[in-house]
């Protein structure tokens, strides 16, 4: 089997990094053998079913489970009475209240009770037999409703953080983020061109194919094993323990393969319920969400309202920007308004700016992280206005961005100075690509937009073992969502100088490897990769020491080249990894090493994209003709999976721009909780998404890696809106740009 299909793409100086090995988990996945969250079956296993709130906002007057408990097959019923009263910091209390409603239900789909029974049908029937008396309360569904002076309050004690003076009474605004610089009035006074508008986006869901699933097995001594599909089993352990009132160590969490997460599997839903049901029933309990439950009860991305105003000089210089942004948090505080505020203007130097971001609770499911959380919405507003300004000034949209682009040494609007970054390179790459020159026909439009996203560092651990045959096992605790096993194998192969096929990358459970934060924040290849590299280097040092001992020479006479220890003067026959492994009995025992780190040197990710689309002027239907994305990956460890991340971000962004939205009725109930009416793109909607992987190495990483998973979703919203504007001559500021909206804009052009 050839591992390197395309050796030509190997990065200079590297043998494995930059090659396209077949992913180690690929065979299992394409042959249906991989075990995802819902695949596990245990002896005596029960099935759990959740009773959810039918109301958007209501007091729970009483819950009567007596009838349900007597029903056939029922082994356990749990309600708020089975969990400790919420305690600790506000965020912990919210976690507890979201997992199981206490005094109130705060959105349609909020958990009220759960049942474990011998069959799914019995569990469902019993859940339906639970009698809940509600006192329905007025609900608020949008930031406008929630921020109105007389709005119904979700939380009686929610005091807005981040305003001075501090408020004297509660509201639905959890916090305000504030970033400012220069003098705004002066900036606008200096501007030759001022553009402004109000932008709105709807809540959207990641649409991961695998619904949430968990299996819990509690033994009589209270220790519990939990299998679940998540982006981080250590976090699932910590969060579940909080809700259960346990020490985390009482739980062992075994990661299932994950069928997509995109940020949505970074928090708990079923996990603590399955554990408590299992504990009460004394049997293993399995719970799997339906798609309907995924929509109604798990976190979408925030809906937003953004009022934006920007000022430019006639030469394109951005001199002033003012952003007022309100992000729906769902039922509990914690929207990414802060991240949206930090990223909004990050790609540009602007002397005078004011960014306010409000985190607003509404009666919808609590939002979850979604690929570059918060950034696509604020970028939608900013990149739309930049496009308008470029049109007014008569400047090419790439030139105006180049004019203002941040480079090494520039101070970001959110504070720090950028190290070496590749934003300008992404702009140049698009500008010089033939796609950018293709002439457009009637009803066609071209849209450009850029985006920025951070890379998270956080905590990672890895353990590397050399087997007695000289092959290598790499254990990390980072779930593999986007091909990280392949990246870990390639980096370890590079370090050891051996064929990547000899590396077995493993995702270990919470008791088999040191703590790892989630796979998210574009951090895994970067941070967990750094831990793997460090652990490999420890073993390599050990191996050199053993060779030195065997040859009886000083350590500095031994170097590690091409998978073997060599004497620098060539006076000894080399010792391969196999030789050294075979002989470990005589040289100090098995070869193993661990590394744990709090990753530093995180990179910044930039992307520039261009879309060409055509609009049917009589129906408003949009056809995406071609799409090109250029992104700085620092160093593409496995180019195919980097390209896949770039393309995936674009596809999700196109769905967000064109058709995806949560639709609620007057009572706050979701009307389109299925893939029929929640319209994610289908394959035939998409053109080939062309990618340009820009490689400006991240100076903070041993191989120059930057996280690539998220920033790709940032530009498409504005890129599409800009292209639509050029095709139909109307600026649309409310997403999604569905055929209904576009046709309306075409037909009512003059109003």
């Amino acid at each position: 089997m050839t591992i390197a299909e395309d050796p030509a793409t190997t990065a200079p100086g590297y043998k494995w990094v930059g090659t396209r090995m077949i992913r180690p988990d690929g065979f299992e996945k394409v042959t249906g053998r991989a075990r995802f969250g819902a695949d596990l079956k245990l002896n005596g296993m029960l099935y759990g079913h959740v009773l959810r709130s039918p109301h958007a906002h209501a007091n729970i007057v009483s819950i009567d489970t007596s009838e349900a408990e007597k029903m056939a097959g029922v082994r356990a019923v749990i309600t708020r009475a089975d969990f400790p009263a919420p305690s600790g910091p506000a965020g912990d209390q919210d976690l507890q209240r979201n997992a199981m409603a206490r005094e109130k239900v705060l959105y349609e789909g909020h958990v009220v009770a759960a049942v474990a029974a011998q069959t799914r049908g019995q569990a469902k029937a019993a859940a339906e037999a639970i009698k809940v008396v509600y006192e329905v309360l007025p609900h608020v569904m949008t930031v406008d409703e929630a921020m109105a002076p007389s709005a119904a309050l979700l939380h009686p004690n929610l005091m807005t953080k981040g305003i001075d003076p501090a408020p004297t009474g509660p509201s639905n605004v959890a916090s305000r983020a504030l970033y400012q610089g220069g003098d705004l009035d002066l900036g606008f006074a200096e501007s030759d061109v001022v553009v402004e508008g109000t932008f709105t986006t709807k809540p959207v869901h990641h649409g991961y194919i695998e619904p949430h699933a968990a299996v819990a097995d509690t033994t009589p001594n209270g220790r519990t094993t939990l299998w679940c599909s998540s982006q981080g089993h250590f976090t699932m352990r910590a969060m579940s323990a909080k809700v259960l009132g346990w020490e985390p160590s009482r739980l062992k969490v075994i990661p299932a393969e994950i069928g997509g997460g995109f940020g949505g599997k970074t928090t708990i839903y079923l996990e603590p319920l399955a554990v408590r049901l299992s504990q009460k029933a004394g049997r293993p309990v399995k719970m799997v969400m339906s798609r309907d439950e995924v929509f109604r009860a798990t976190g979408p991305a925030s809906g937003t309202k953004i009022v934006a105003k920007m000022g430019f000089k006639n030469d394109g210089t951005m001199v002033a920007a003012e952003l007022w942004m309100a992000y729906e948090a769902g039922a509990f505080a914690g929207s990414p308004a802060g991240a949206g505020s930090m990223t909004a203007l990050a790609p540009y130097t602007v002397a005078n700016f004011l960014i306010e971001g409000f985190d607003v609770v509404v009666n919808k499911p609590k939002v979850a992280a979604y690929r570059a959380p918060g950034a696509p919405m604020s970028s939608f507003a900013v990149e739309s206005l930049i496009d308008e300004a470029a049109t007014k000034i008569g400047m090419d949209p790439i030139e105006i961005r180049l004019k203002n682009a941040v480079t090494e040494g520039c101070q970001a609007t959110y504070g720090p100075k950028f190290p070496r970054i590749g934003f300008v390179e992404t702009l140049e790459a698009i500008k010089n690509h033939p796609n950018y020159q293709i002439p457009l026909g009637p009803n066609q439009g071209r849209g450009v937009a850029s985006g920025f996203w951070f890379n998270a560092g956080l905590n990672s651990s890895a353990t590397v073992h050399v087997n007695e045959d000289g092959n290598v096992i790499v254990v990390t605790g980072s779930p593999d969502i986007g091909g990280s096993r392949a990246s870990m194998a390639l980096m370890a192969a590079e370090e050891f100088g051996i064929d990547a096929a000899r590396i077995q990358p493993v995702v270990g459970d919470t008791e088999s490897v040191g703590y790892n934060d989630q796979t998210g924040g574009s951090r895994t290849t970067l941070a967990t990769g750094a831990a793997v590299i460090e652990a490999c280097r420890k073993i390599l040092a050990d191996l050199r020491g053993r060779a030195a001992k065997q040859w009886d020479v000083p350590l500095d006479k031994v170097e590690w080249v091409d998978g073997q220890a060599q004497h620098v003067d060539g006076t000894q026959p080399p010792l391969s990894l196999e030789d050294l492994a075979k002989g470990w009995n005589r040289t100090g025992g098995p070869l193993t090493a661990s590394a744990a780190l709090n990753a530093r040197g995180v990179g910044s990710a930039f992307s520039t994209q261009v879309v060409d689309l055509e609009i049917d002027p009589d129906t408003g239907h949009v056809t995406v003709l071609r799409y090109l994305t250029a992104q700085d990956a620092g160093r593409a460890i496995h180019p195919s999976y980097v390209e896949g991340q770039l393309q995936g971000g674009v596809v999700q962004g196109l769905g967000w721009a064109l058709n995806e939205e949560y639709i609620f009725d007057r009572n706050g109930k979701m009307e389109n909780a299925s893939f029929l009416d929640y319209r994610i793109p289908v394959a035939s909607d998409m053109p080939m998404i062309d990618t340009i992987v820009v490689e400006v190495p991240n100076p903070g990483h041993p191989y120059g890696v930057r996280g690539v998973g998220e920033v790709g979703i940032v530009p498409p919203l504005a890129a599409v809106a800009n292209a639509v504007e050029h095709a139909v001559g109307r600026r649309l500021r409310d997403l999604p740009l569905s055929p209904v909206r576009i046709l309306d804009a075409i037909l009512n052009k003059d109003c």
Binding site: T31, G121, D677, R679, V682, V740
Partner: protein, 344 residues
Amino acid sequence: MGTLSRLARRLADLVGAHRAALQPAVCGPGIAKLGATPLDGLPSVGLARLRGTHLKYFAPSTVEEAVGLLAQPNTKVFAGATDVIPQIRAGRPEPDALVDLKKIDRLIAVQCTDAKWIIGAATPTARLTANAEFSAEFPGLAEAAGLIGSDQVQSRSSLGGNLCNASPAADSVPAMIVNGARVVIATANGGTRSVAVQDVPTGPGRTSLAPGEFVVEIEVDRAPARTADAYLRMIPRTEMDIAVVGVGVRVTLDESGKVTDALVALGAVAPTVVRVPAAEAALIGSTLDDAALAVAAAAASAACNPIDDKRGTIAYRTHVAGVLTRRAAVIAGQRAAEKNGASR
């Protein structure tokens, strides 16, 4: 590489099986006669598990057996079950028993006589659209049937199910109506009756079928010379969506290219499919010129009685019904002109 080549072989087997399933069949393939007894074996398992209740499954092999089974209360027929299963999953009241029509040879057959086409009501639409003669004679109806769902759905879905599910947005129904299709219904007393397709749905989810009745066949008269149909629908995506508006048009031309007959039917703009006589009148006598098309489009828009819902607004549906009527009329006209000279 062993695993990969095994996988490749398995895929080749599957594709082969799929092709075989698409062969046009005059009568059904040799299927096991399952008899009118509840099955405890394999086929019942999938359905009985739907909601963990004791749903019975019957697979009669004749129309008579099916009629007998339907005498039981709360018994429902199904063909592809591509509507039935999602509806039960979504919480619709479950019947006590389901009767599978796909094991009755006559219901999964496509036949052609000198006078008409007879399509078994449970015939998978994939089999119908793979029938080259049928698709050449009724390109619009074949297109409409071919729009339902995906390849997987089409290997199950049927015209009978599409019609009797009585969704206002069902794709094949406007196309059947413009071709004057009729259904043969098996009645509870063991006889049959025939009604026009447009008289079957009476409102969303409701039909004129009496309890115990089901559709056996769909009949379509052979298309006259210089006659062709077209069906267009508007969906926000490119597939796997429900029509926001659907339009079927059929025209017959004389030798000079003038329209001598026209039928226009709109889907998803009213509780049931709407015929548009005013649009038909505008097309008849014309050469499908701009003026006639504009009148027809306006008439189609005027005939709409849609709702505002999550899939589209009243204004949108009304406008697009006119747009698609014009476009479908043009396509049907071009197709009919291509048939000029050749009969059929």
